[in-house]
């Protein structure tokens, strides 16, 4: 029988060891033994991006060998993206933080014991709170179940109000927009749709696994799928592509509203029974004709009219996808209102809660654990949420504003978990200076990220394969991460242990009088299975209520006391029928709101109107707008240090900036040339370009996730690459406070 590579490898690499250890002389027998060792499949959740796909880690001979998608998990459905496969390489990464570390100099650390580290941290924090108050402290994280429970609970126990996440660089605008129109940032029912319009969203490269699967299924089924994008992305390449001038999506969407309204293509029944403010809205959009939009966007008026007519014909089984980051999240000054305009089109099509429209499925609501809980803190926040930003998300906060307050000496201490705002927010210098101005920065991490290396203390966690976490409601299931392998570095501690230890030292241990298992059991009290069942299965079908459950960062931003009292279900399972009941929405009226009184009260336009990006639409002869976006094999400046993913970048040379061919020719720039960029703020950088027809002439497309600055990431350093956050400056949009990541104009010359 032929020897496969897997067997061959075990055979050659381990033959000597094997012969000594087992007394096996016949190498083929040994190879077969290794090959035949039992494989244990441990359920887990991927940790490489926000989506946390359910998966199995296949453990053989005590080592993770491969991962496969969990077939029952709603976000993976048996599939996994490349990052999930590569995540295995994180576990044994030599650059992992192995013991608690204390800062001893610029990016220099020495090991410290847990006892000493937590003693010193709690002493310093007590002093800071005594001298500067709880408003001088913040907690920030990539928001997932365990962190959201433990870090936020600790902050609240201490009286700290400022808890934050990455959202200001993600979907901050979208969440406010969707909350104030149809109650929360619901997704489209891609799989069952007859017509899908994507505004800048790139389902194939900014991957949530099962969403990409559903996207492809719609295409395969013959649904019409249109991608509006200034770039021919991989998603646009397998659908109908509508190129657009970057930053002008709002004009296109308002013109779609115009056609639907003025040509009487909207859903009258939905409008009269389920919406508020249609009359002023109708008057308002009359000004936005397709011809007007063509001038701004470059999309032919006829194409705009065609899309509106086709969608109306498919209604209500069609949707404008609600996006994520891109045009509606945190890119432009007009992103939040672009999000509202996305919602308006859906409202006119009457697709809320309908098959193939905006999906409002019922989800799992956990029981409330009855352990002593801290009351909500009343201290002022240090990031302007609730004051300068009355509509912004208090869950997500505005870390870049907190860094400004830190530079001003008003913020003194921060606790950051699994989150790298120094590198992932625009303006590296600003974010770093803010961190360095703190008297105490504690970072909970597995790796020496750009944020970790600015910390006074780095407290190491085990990798995702070595720890258990708080259970998670995902659609109509509950999922959890279980311990697949023993601790690789015995000095690491799981987050629940670390926070509980700190809480007792800080005198608030009473709020942590439970173990992780006890907490999980309490959450699952109403479910038809036990925690032990869930640990075995990883993902289990659960009891659903008539309330939707949304991914972290997608819930309603309308305070519960301002939402209409619940009179009917807020979610429905979509049936195959032509019309489903319309759920009650989480808005003040419980209806779809074309006109937002909350926006008006906060001093904003109650109905979104057109305005251009902050940096305008007129560019100089050598100027470009820098827009970044994902490649499917990297995320969040966290993965380009993984050799197996970095190799993809190397093989296809994909960390170059995309430049339009005709613009390149005008500037005397050839493919692969290095260019020098000077931002309008005077900052400069160099990068190599890929000259292509696939990108809008106004735009330099920057593949995201490159340009790590931490000296601890060797592969990343060797790979190199440009990160636009080095040129971007600290700025904040008016409504949600997001970071306006694509409000960056550079002048270009050949270097």
């Amino acid at each position: 029988m032929g020897i496969d590579r897997r067997t061959f490898l075990s055979h050659t690499a381990k033959a000597a060891v094997a012969a000594a250890a087992l007394g096996v002389i016949d190498m083929r027998v040994w190879a077969q033994t290794v090959q035949d060792a039992p494989v244990v499949k441990k359920p887990s959740l991927c940790n490489m991006c926000t989506s946390e796909c359910g998966m199995h880690i296949h453990v053989k001979n005590g080592r993770p060998w491969k991962v496969t998608g969990h077939p029952d998990h709603p976000v993976s459905r048996g599939k996994l993206c490349p990052r999930a496969h590569a995540g295995l390489h994180w576990i044994y990464d030599p650059a992992r933080v192995k013991t608690p570390l204390k800062r001893v100099g610029e990016w220099q650390f020495e090991p410290i014991s847990w006892e000493q580290a937590t003693d010193q941290i709690s002493d310093q924090l007590k002093r800071i709170i005594a001298e500067h108050g709880t408003e001088s402290v913040f907690g920030a994280q990539y928001p997932r179940t365990t962190g959201s429970l433990y870090l936020n609970r600790l902050m609240h126990a201490l009286g700290v109000s400022t808890t934050q996440s990455h959202e200001a660089t993600c979907q901050a605008g979208r969440r406010i927009a969707m909350s104030h129109t149809f109650g929360a940032a619901f997704d489209a029912d891609w799989e069952n749709s007859d017509y899908l319009l994507f505004i800048g969203r790139n389902m194939g490269e900014a991957v949530r696994t099962a969403s990409a699967t559903a996207f492809a299924k719609a295409i395969e089924r013959g649904a019409k799928v249109v991608c509006v994008d200034p770039r021919l992305s991989q998603s646009a390449a397998i659908t109908e592509w509508v190129p657009i001038k970057p930053g002008t999506d709002l004009a296109l969407l308002l013109a779609l509203c115009n056609v639907l309204v003025t040509e009487n293509l909207f859903d009258r029944q939905f409008i009269s029974n389920h919406t508020n403010g249609f009359v002023p809205f109708r008057r308002h959009v009359v000004q936005y004709s397709p011809h007007w939009a063509e001038e701004i966007t470059g999309v032919p008026a006829e194409k705009i009219r065609q899309i509106a007519h086709e969608m109306a014909a498919a209604a209500p089984h069609c949707a404008v996808d609600t996006g994520w980051k891109a045009a509606v999240g945190s890119c432009y000054a007009n992103s939040t209102d672009t999000g509202r305009a996305v919602a308006y089109v859906n409202g006119l099509l009457g697709n809320i809660g309908q098959r193939g429209g905006i999906s409002v499925p019922p989800g799992v609501v956990f029981a409330t654990p009855q352990f002593p809980a801290p009351s909500a803190p009343t201290a002022p926040r240090n990031d302007g949420v609730g004051t300068e930003y009355p509509l912004a998300s208090a869950e997500s906060g505005l870390p870049h504003l907190t860094m400004q307050r830190a530079k001003e000496g008003k913020v003194k201490a921060g606790f950051i978990r699994h989150f790298n705002p120094v590198r992932s927010f625009p303006d590296y210098d600003h974010m770093r200076a803010g961190m360095r101005a703190l008297d105490l920065l504690v970072v909970f991490e597995t790796h020496m990220s750009e944020t970790a290396i600015e910390a006074h203390y780095i407290l190491p966690e085990p990798s995702f394969a070595e720890r258990e976490e708080v259970v998670k409601a995902v659609g109509d299931t509950v999922a959890m991460r279980t311990k697949a392998i023993d601790s690789v570095h015995p000095q690491t501690k799981s987050f629940d242990e670390i926070i509980t230890m700190l809480a007792y030292k800080l005198g608030v241990g009473e709020y942590f009088s439970f173990t992780l298992d006890q907490w999980n059991e309490a959450l699952l009290a109403d479910q038809p299975f036990s925690l032990a069942d869930l640990k075995r299965a990883g993902t289990l079908a659960a009891e659903v209520s008539d309330e939707p459950v949304l991914p972290a960062g997608c819930g309603s931003l309308i305070p519960p006391e301002q939402q209409a009292p619940k009179e009917r279900p807020r979610a429905f399972l979509v049936s195959g029928g032509d019309r489903n009941p319309v759920p009650q929405l989480f808005t003040p009226s419980g209806r779809f709101e074309f006109y937002s009184q909350r926006f008006a009260n906060a001093g904003f336009e109650p109905i979104a109107k057109w305005y251009p990006p902050k940096t305008g639409l007129d560019l100089g002869s050598a100027e470009f707008r820098v827009v970044h976006g994902k490649q499917a094999y990297h995320s969040h400046v966290a993965t380009n240090n993984i050799p197996i993913l970095a190799q993809i970048t190397k093989d296809y040379d994909t960390n170059r900036l995309w430049m339009n061919r005709s613009r390149a020719e005008q500037l005397g720039i050839s493919d692969n040339d290095t260019i020098r960029m000077r931002a309008r703020n005077g900052r400069t950088a160099e990068a190599r370009v890929m000259v292509t027809e696939r990108v809008h002439p106004d735009m330099l497309f920057s593949p995201a996730g490159y340009g790590n600055r931490t000296p601890y990431y060797k592969t990343s350093k060797e790979l190199g690459g440009f990160n636009p956050h080095d040129l971007a400056e600290y700025q904040h949009e008016t409504i949600s406070g997001h970071t306006m990541m694509s409000e960056l104009i550079v002048e270009v010359e050949r270097a």
Binding site: W65, A216, L232, P243
Partner: protein
């Protein structure tokens, strides 16, 4: 386990019994496998390039599944751009072993390291391979790569083996299991071909030159491709 998988599994199990008998009789590994081809069901990988988003998940899953060194990959991609802004198209095509029914690499391999399996795929006895590059000379699709094997320091040939260890148990190759857009499928050759032909018919409304590649080339390919544009536009297709 699906019906198809199960069927393949049962057939293989029957074949395995025969293989044991061959092993006892001292017939070479390659000869055993060829004899199985006659008993096994012909299978195919189907790559629908019109659904591929170039995410590279197949590549990385394959690297893990086959314990490949970081720099080696069995699955690569070709890209074809045409037109000028804003009338531009972009097409991808999987470039990996096409698993020819009439496989010149198998014929030329001096050490019988390359051999046909019962499902019709071209497998590699990695230990037997001497990295001579003969296969590279005759491959119509420029697939084989010769590299030094890090653990042994010996030159070896790298190419897709259709996850022989999985398909022999009736399972799917890793690329088909993980593909996030279901662009990769695996099943009986006839079923894959008819699925592909049906899909191409639908694609022709938008892409009049769409085609299935692999029905006749090299007497039929174990990796069938769905193309939106003519094969000759792709650098590695003939």
């Amino acid at each position: 386990m699906t019906k198809i998988d199960r069927r393949a599994f049962i057939k293989y199990s029957a074949a395995a019994g025969a293989a044991t008998a061959f092993a006892a009789s001292g017939i070479s590994a390659g000869a055993q496998e060829i004899s199985r081809t006659q008993q096994g069901q012909r299978m195919a990988l189907l790559m629908d390039n019109s659904l591929c988003v170039n995410c590279q998940s197949c590549r990385v899953a394959c690297q893990n599944e086959n314990s490949l060194p970081v720099s080696e990959k069995y699955i690569r991609f070709d890209y074809v751009d045409s037109g000028t802004w804003p009338d531009v198209t972009h097409h991808v095509n999987r470039h990996s072993c096409q698993h020819c029914a009439d496989a010149p690499c198998v014929d030329i391999c001096p050490v019988e390291a390359l051999f046909k399996g019962p499902q019709g795929f071209t497998h590699l006895d990695f230990e037997a391979c001497i990295g001579c590059g003969g296969c590279l000379m005759v491959c119509p699709f420029e697939v084989p790569v010769i590299s030094e094997e890090p653990a042994s320091g010996k030159p070896k040939m790298y190419k897709c083996t259709a996850c022989r260890h999985l398909i022999s148990q009736g399972k799917k190759p890793a690329c088909a299991t993980t593909c996030i857009t279901n662009a990769v499928d695996y099943g009986p050759w006839d079923e894959m071909l008819s699925k592909a032909e049906k899909r191409v018919e639908a694609l022709r409304k938008q892409y009049p030159q769409a085609s299935v590649y692999g029905k006749t080339q090299q007497d039929g390919l174990g990796l069938l491709l769905i193309l939106r544009t003519p094969a000759q536009e792709y650098p590695h297709l003939i």
